[in-house]
Amino acid sequence: MRLPRAAALLLAAAMGCAGPGALLDLADAASDDERIAATEKAAGVAADPTASEGHRVAAALALGRLRSSSPPVVDALDRGLGASRPRVRAAAAWALGELRSEDSLAVLVEALKATDDPKLGSRLLEGLAKHHALMAGRPERVVPLAEAMTRYVGRLPDGQAPPLLDVIGARVRTLEVDVEVLARALRADRAQPSDRTRAALYAAAFELLARLDRLRGELGASGRNPRAEEAIAAAADVLERGRADTSTMILWFLGCLGEEQVYAAAAAMALGRPRSEGAGAGQRMVRAWGLARAQGHALEARRALARDVLLTESSRAVLTALEGAVSSRAAEGVLQRALGIEARR
């Protein structure tokens, strides 16, 4: 009678005569019974905090190769993500990526949301990229991922997104996803403001506005677009938080977008919102510049210019920037018309 292969391997491991190699060999299990036994063994080692680094890494690799996405496997690898050793964490992240299941996706998303380790983050992103097929056309899965990606970028020391994050984002994120992610970031910042929520808010607003910028021409050359208006309004909501860096970035983007007819009205409405008290000259300059760019398409922009800038602005720097913005557009009489509006009042 031939000894079943799995039994031989398990016996070898139990006798302690084999190191990590025996754990790796569990991936060679062929029959269903062998695979079940091998998976159980590997999961036990992968989850064991007292096992050596080499054993835990080998066990994780075996689990990734076996590709069983049962709850005990996912749980074991989740524990591996919390190990103190970077190699164990990296192996667990890789193995979770191989599983390509809803449960492994959820674990990877939570881990990305929580980590500020760039190396682990790269492994997690690789693992998440493997779940692309699960996310296609499923916003309920994409929104948590996008939220995690935004928070992760916000925590990176230099705020520089790794290239893979952009690749994933380009494939799975949509305007609607970005609006939802921004709304969540805003809620989190309102509920419990901190440096992390502020960074996440900045990142979410940037992602949304950058997407609008990339979609120029795709949302329609003329007329108003409800999707775009909703997105711009969502970004404008963030202005109320009064964060100087975020507000300046948003105002600048609104000014850029305001030049496009499809965005102009919404951008003008957003720019024309009452400004927060204490907004610095830089913000006021960007806002005035943005309104000047939008006024060619939107009456709201001209009204806001007259009401909020020409009437009350005292900074020479702001008014000079405004004059430059107006004259560079060769819009003769625009400033005069704005003054005229003010004079009629």
């Binding site: 000894l3 190699g21 060999d25 991936a27 060679d28 080998a58 190769r65």
Partner: protein, 170 residues
């Protein structure tokens, strides 16, 4: 005869299965034990085949190219062994003076990388192997930027940005 009798005969086999540990395999690679590594390509254990393939590539064993190519293209082989063989081929192409053989391997790697039916792990390994070359095959890699597999797409993008000038051909 006791029911446990067969175990006595298979005990040495069990011990033997412990004999070639990971450390020993890695030591073989460090010492470039070519004969042992070439033999290892046919071992039962996939981990041995994998590490043997890796070692042959790192040690620059050009003569092993046909066996490595066979492993990389074998649909019945474990995907991690195929991936290791593909990467090893990349290592060997870098050092080979045989242009015809290198071109043939290069074509095989491009086919592996481009095939959507091949496991992503193998495709990525093929791309890594191509990237090790001074002429990775820009025109063939370019369409992979739009591949459904995100990691393949990302890898193709990084190869193109690092090695393929825009408008250039290679």
């Amino acid at each position: 005869m006791p029911r446990s009798w067969p175990w006595i005969f298979f005990y040495p086999a069990i011990l033997t299965s412990c004999a070639t540990s990971l450390r020993q395999l890695e030591a073989r690679e460090e010492r470039c034990e070519v004969a042992a590594m070439r033999k290892g390509l046919s071992e039962d254990r996939s981990s041995v085949r994998e590490l043997s393939a890796r070692g042959l590539g790192r040690c620059g064993v050009i003569e092993a190219r046909p066996e490595l190519l066979a492993r990389a293209l074998d649909p019945k082989e474990r995907r991690w062994v195929r991936a290791a063989a593909a990467r090893a081929l990349g290592d060997l192409n870098e050092v080979s003076a045989d242009e015809r053989a290198s071109a043939s391997v290069h074509e095989a790697l491009l086919r592996l990388a481009a095939s959507p039916r091949i496991e992503p792990e193998i495709r990525l390994a093929a791309l890594d192997a191509l990237a090790a070359s001074s002429s990775p095959g820009c025109d063939a890699i370019r369409p992979l930027v739009y591949d459904d597999e995100l990691l393949v797409s990302a890898r193709a993008q990084s190869i193109l940005s690092e090695q393929c000038p825009p408008g250039g051909r290679s």
